[in-house]
């Protein structure tokens, strides 16, 4: 079991010794049970940091934001930025480094092993009728503080599917790591949810997806929360059309719009499938997109499908090694397709 104080001490020490310019971590939110992301810059703030089953967020998103800010302000801070990272988050950081988004020495990874736990799912918790103000993990159960006193639930019952299926709940890439390496733990078979879904026939699956995409409100929370969706210009934004002083009104009016603003089936499907394709071999299954969706679209099924294709067709595992090439930037000598060789 991880002692929260160790994480706070690590962060405080790094800031005191000026080894990092900030620590990206989690703190308690002002609006309920969940943790929220925070960037601390002074040693005193280290006591704000928390670690519990509501630390859902893949904080590597804020490394991307930091990188964009530095590029925009042409700032070279010299010192690295530290980040609290679960196993999945650390794999996301590795993918970003594989894609040369930033360099290894620019990031200080405070790795957190999930050990026997993972993050919980708020909807699963609500289905159990629990309204909690605090959540923790005691080795077997999630323990909740509620108005009616302490309540316990077996962790497996409300743990996220992606955590149950996680093979490596440990940040292999780290500068310092807290907790034991429980790699190989098996709470559920990998791709179990996807396998269950694929047992339905194609017609049924299409009807299922039509219903899912029909209720998309195109808030783009799934894109906005994704550390891999770092494009400066996204295909769905109207700013993806470059404008300069010479651009005529007609050119602006007639710009190509791949996806219209209307939240209708055709546009919603194009948006979600474009995103899924762009995540192939990059998505590390943090599943933040599905968590943040206000209308409960099961995006993990799409991303898992792409992940499994990459694994089965090319033996590719995203985020395994900084030195490994990106999936779409590499080929295998034994590729069955001749054109690639």
């Amino acid at each position: 079991m991880i002692n929260i104080q160790d994480m706070r001490d690590t962060a405080r020490d790094l800031l005191t010794k000026n080894e990092v310019r900030a620590v990206i971590g989690y703190r308690r939110s002002s609006s309920g049970m969940n943790a929220e992301p925070v960037v601390i810059t002074t040693p005193e703030q280290a006591d704000e940091l928390v670690w519990d089953p509501t630390c859902f967020h893949n904080l590597s998103l804020y490394l991307v934001e930091d990188r964009k800010f530095l590029a925009h302000t042409r700032n070279n801070p010299g010192r690295p930025i530290a980040i609290v990272a679960k196993g999945c988050d650390a794999r996301a950081i590795v993918v970003l480094m594989q894609e040369h988004y930033f360099k290894r020495e620019e990031v200080y990874i405070i790795g957190m092993s999930c050990e026997g736990s993972g993050v919980l799912v708020e909807r699963k918790l609500a289905a159990n009728g629990i309204q909690a103000t605090n959540a923790s993990f005691d080795g077997d159960d999630y323990v909740f503080t509620t108005a009616q006193g302490e309540k316990r639930l077996p962790a497996r019952e409300i743990m996220a599917d992606r955590c149950l299926e996680c093979r490596i709940p440990y940040p292999r890439e780290h500068n310092v790591v807290l907790g034991e390496d429980k790699t190989g733990r098996e709470l559920a078979e990998p791709f179990a949810a996807l396998k269950r879904f694929e047992e339905r026939d194609a017609g049924e699956r299409w009807i299922f997806w039509e219903r899912q995409f029909d209720r998309c409100i195109r808030c783009f929370a799934c894109r906005s929360v994704c550390p891999m969706c770092y494009c400066e210009e996204c295909v769905v934004d109207s700013i993806s059309f470059p404008v300069n002083a010479q651009t005529t009104a007609e050119e602006k009016a007639n710009r190509v719009r791949w996806i219209e603003r209307s939240a209708v089936r055709s546009e919603n499907i194009t948006y979600h499938l474009t995103r899924a394709m762009h995540l192939a071999g990059r998505c590390i299954d943090c599943n933040e997109c599905e968590r943040v969706c206000p209308v409960n679209i099961p995006l993990r099924l799409l991303n898992n499908k792409m992940e499994r294709e990459a694994r089965e067709q090319f033996g590719y595992e995203p985020g395994a090694s900084i030195g490994a090439p990106a999936l779409v930037a590499s080929f295998l000598d034994n590729d069955p397709e001749k054109f690639i060789r």
């Binding site: 939110s29 002002s30 609006s31 309920g32 969940n34 943790a35 929220e36 992301p37 925070v38 960037v39 967020h57 998103l61 804020y62 909807r123 309204q131 103000t133 219903r211 899912q212 209720r215 409100i217 195109r218 808030c219 783009f220 929370a221 894109r223 906005s224 929360v225 934004d237 109207s238 700013i239 470059p242 404008v243 300069n244 002083a245 602006k252 719009r257 219209e260 603003r261 209307s262 939240a263 209708v264 933040e288 968590r291 943040v292 206000p294 209308v295 409960n296």
Partner: protein
Amino acid sequence: MEKILGKKQIDDWIAALSEWEILAPSVEDGIWAYRALSGAVRLDHSNTTQPPKGLSFPQREVFFSFEQIKGEPPRLTQKMPTATRRAVFGVRPCDGAGAVRMDMVFSDHVADPYYQTRRKNLAYVGLACNKPQGSNCFCLSVGGSPVATEGMDVLMTDLGDRYYVSAVTETGKALMAAAAKLFAAPTSVDKKLVERTHADAVAQPQRAVKNVDAVPAKLKASFKSPLWEELARACIGCGVCTFLCPTCHCFDINDESTGASPVKGNRVRTWDNCQFPDFTMHTSGHNPRESLGSRLRQRVSHKFQYFQENFGMPQCTGCGRCISECSVGIDIITTVNKVTEHAG
């Protein structure tokens, strides 16, 4: 008009409203929403993920279609919404208050015919909140109340085995008159009970925006506050807060092509969102609200300062959706309180 309706009679009442399309809260794919009623009505919802706003201000509204055949003048065909009368059951007071604000926006200077056509055919049968529906309710601190009638045609209060039903508008009276036999006159016991229920509801602890009357001036003084960037540090710039808001009404208008030869398509209004990077993008390429802090400031200032200046009330109705549904803990209550505290 104030009446008593046995809980078991509500379906009979709905059955009597044959001239109305009935919408009520239902849960599908884990999401509570106002949907066409099928079967018995269920009013055990906390609140819906989205307010009923979209019924009068849909996310997509086609204004007109166009077609241009070479050598001929362009043909425009206006697409007015059909005037179906719809009664929505189970609307919560914060969303009733939201409708009042939306009505102001879409009748100010110009009465928006698309909005008005939908709205005047829409009746809200509200349900008072005997206790807060979630931990982020704060209607009381923004001038609302869990038992408020504003925006409603009828307000029902749950009295255990029966509803205390008050008509608020003429439409509300007509809805009740359609099944007059089902309603009984309230006894003095009923009247006392509803009074006590309402008093208890208002006495329930809620979160609060502090001193809302002083907020507009303080926000005005805080336009350049560095706090905005600090408070927006975790913001991911998605559209959840505004797309789920009962009073956000910004929209975009685009021509969506449906054919190239001849050129044809639709002029479409869609919801827009001040949290998106392209919301304030100028045609020159300059963007005055590039940072997340400036966009958070816009959302909060619109709710608590600009709307107050234009319409004499805060735009926010305290439903708490933007807080509960924010994936990174951006909290409009804390934001307003911190910024105003800092303004002194």
